[in-house]
Symmetry: C2
Subunit: 159 residues, 2 copies
DNA sequence: ATAAATAGTTGGCGCTACACAGACGATCCT
DNA sequence: AGGATCGTCTGTGTAGCGCCAACTATTTAT
């Protein structure tokens, strides 16, 4: 298992990711509608659960969204008491955004409700494989991109 | 490997998938722009490469897009000679859509160009893990959802 | 042979997501 | 005091995309 002729040169996951995300999102939309949530809310809640209390601009950076649009997103979530905005004691300009208990519960409910949708999309994978997939995605998601200096150093562009 | 205490009950990949797909798409857009492509074109080309010659409505079903929008998508690709529409000899109403040589080449170029973007998004994963991820995504993507009767039979909704 | 169904195309309408820009209050840092 | 920063609000523009309707070419069913 050492000198595999592995040539991952063209094994780009981007398009597949896009494709599957779309499939999931389509299903998620209808499943989540009765819960008053949208896919994008789920993403925010998930990030919030993983990251704990973060400022809004940190959230904007993680979500890679414009901060002005984060406002509306959080307004939605706060109106439903799924999220709480508290002023930071250190810097009172900042809002520390945090998941409420209700938010965590609702997130869990939503995830539960999504089981069927995932069964459809990931039907080809066995439970253990899905778990592997989840783990890989989770790890990739919980690291801020570009943060390491890698991208700055090398840019070979030679495939 | 039987009675693992694995509890994947709340390990839903949907949100992570969405999140990472967004990150990739944002980067892909700028990387692909010089090639005259957009993320959605990449998805279509990828599906086409995997699936061989398919009718447009089959493509619409795979991509889970409205068939009227498939037309424009294919117009783009055909205008660039990346894709070919031929009438099916069996059923002359149908268009058999197929990747051209140029299309396959361009797709490969695009994938090559996306290497940097993936390095940013999947920086947390080692090459072998990325390969695993790719393989899981590929398998999940190359099976039509709902096609099996699974989803029709069971709908427990009890988590 | 005639009717009905199907594949693709075109055009238009409308909604949603989002980026972007401008202006504002509150607050921090010099 | 003055400038930078965080969050908020509002408005504008654009892109993706679903959906409806009409039309042609073709197949299939009666």
């Amino acid at each position: 298992m050492s000198a595999l002729p592995l040539d991952p040169s063209e094994h780009r996951s981007g398009a597949l990711l896009d494709h599957l995300a779309r499939r999931m999102r389509l299903r998620a939309e209808s499943v989540l509608a009765p819960l008053g949530l949208r896919p994008r809310h789920l993403v925010a809640l998930t990030v919030l659960r993983a990251g704990g209390g973060t400022s809004q601009q940190a959230l904007a950076s993680t979500l890679e969204m414009d901060s002005t649009n984060i406002v509306g997103l959080l307004n939605d979530l706060e109106a439903k008491d799924l999220v709480e905005r508290r002023r930071s004691p250190q810097d009172r300009r900042r809002h520390v955004v945090e998941l409420t208990e209700d938010g965590a519960k609702r997130l869990k409910e939503a995830e539960c409700a999504l089981a069927g949708a995932e069964d459809e999309v990931f039907g080809a994978l066995e439970p253990a494989e899905r778990e592997t997939l989840y783990e890989l995605l989770r790890r990739a998601a919980t690291t801020t991109p570009i943060s390491c200096g890698e991208a700055l150093i090398e840019e070979p562009d030679a495939c």
